[in-house]
Amino acid sequence: MAGIVGYGVYIPIYRIRVEDIAKVWNEDAEAIKHGLGIREKTVPGRDEDAATIAVEASRRAVVHSGLSPDKIQAVYVGSESHPYAVKPTATIVKEAIGAGTAVMTSDLEFACKAGTAGMQMVMGLVDSRMIEYGLAAGSDTSQGRPGDALEYTASAGGAAFIIGKEKKEVIADILKTVSYTTDTPDFWRREGAGFPSHGGRFTGEPAYFKHIQNATKLLFETTGFKPTDFKYAVFHQPNGKFPTNVAKMLGFSEKQIEPGLLTPIIGNTYSGASMLGLAATLDVANAGDKILVTSFGSGAGSDSFAIQVTDRIDDKRKRSVKVQDLINAHKKYVDYSTYLKNRGSIRKR
């Protein structure tokens, strides 16, 4: 089966603390921090959007892979904040990484799981030998309506994975992937609306928890794996609480999800979230380790992956930019008014 031959990540330098949002709405910051399991979130710069984030992550993935960019024959970009309503983000990414013109390209949209859907599509193309290498990115500058609970978590960031099957290039084999999909209206945004709407508490049990559990259980059934077979696990992370709870329900420990749980310090990067979690886990994983990843996208569906790290991971490590280093380097805190100003420039109409 196809595997990961390189990955790259991008996180904006700007941050806003829960306290600075809570102050504006006269809410109890400590209660929110505890309830959502989040301290601060990333904020895009005025000159950043889902395309610039996808480009920065994808360029790093190309460097990490060691491949010449003209080897990449497919580029898929998943986002719920594509800068244009009509005009693909993926063509911008394709051009900016220096890929050629004989490239299969499209934008994907499936709330927070469009990026992992792209990984599955590229895997299919690679395994059927239609292409040698393809890139799937998940990137978002997601937004919550001012005053809405989502405002504390909706953040910006992205990751890109290059997938191929040339054994000497693969740093992690993807052993199996399955999906679980239903038509569930838990979260949506109509064309032209500036902000998404959601079903409040409805987003939890029948949406997030049901889909992640069912996709992961399906993966167990089809592979025979059980939670203890995995060194690490990554679950979609709309806040700090949901992934911790779903891990427990499925029989995973807090230690297994620790390296990939980023939302408490960067917020929910939507399409970037489970992919950034996987990248942060690969940063610390060793040859032989198995990693489970289950994404979730409202609407609703989950993609579950069983991944096993190969011994080539160390050869490429020196070329990677680590997620934790990126999170901690050059952090710049902004106040609520700067946050609003930055956000104004990225609002998708």
Partner: protein, 133 residues
């Protein structure tokens, strides 16, 4: 109704703006950005070929813009400067403030950012900007 916007101008410059693609002279090796039709040194003997620059270099000079042109009126204050690329050419560009103090000699890399957004319905112009490493 489709609005006609001047997108051909953007399209011709995309390679240069996204990826710092200039050229160099095969005869003497001198690199140019933006690309030149003939080499300044070699004239009729010049053999120009496309060259993608690494984007790495150092700040040669810079200035903080506080009173910007209309195009960038919401962005001020911001820094523009001249960067000497590792491959030789001097390139003008915006320099991002990412927490590292910008001085002459500060090492930079090229980042990918929005440069300009044409109102509510026009194109988004992406461009390299320099960022301290």
């Amino acid at each position: 109704m489709l609005m006609e916007k001047p997108s051909a101008g953007l399209w011709r410059k995309i390679k240069a703006r996204y990826n710092l693609v200039g050229n160099s002279c095969k005869t003497c090796g001198k690199a140019y950005f933006p690309p030149r039709i003939v080499c300044r040194k070699c004239g009729r003997e010049s053999k120009m070929e496309n060259k993608k620059f690494s984007g790495n270099g150092e700040v040669y000079s810079f200035t903080k813009i506080r009173v910007p042109p209309d195009t960038f009126k919401d962005e001020a204050p911001y820094i523009v400067g001249v960067v000497k690329l590792d491959e030789g050419p001097m390139v003008e560009g915006h320099i991002l403030e990412n927490g590292t103090e910008i001085k002459i000699g500060t090492k930079v890399r090229s980042a990918f950012r929005r440069m300009y957004v044409d109102g509510e319905e026009g194109l988004i112009y992406y461009h390299y900007k320099f960022e301290p490493v």
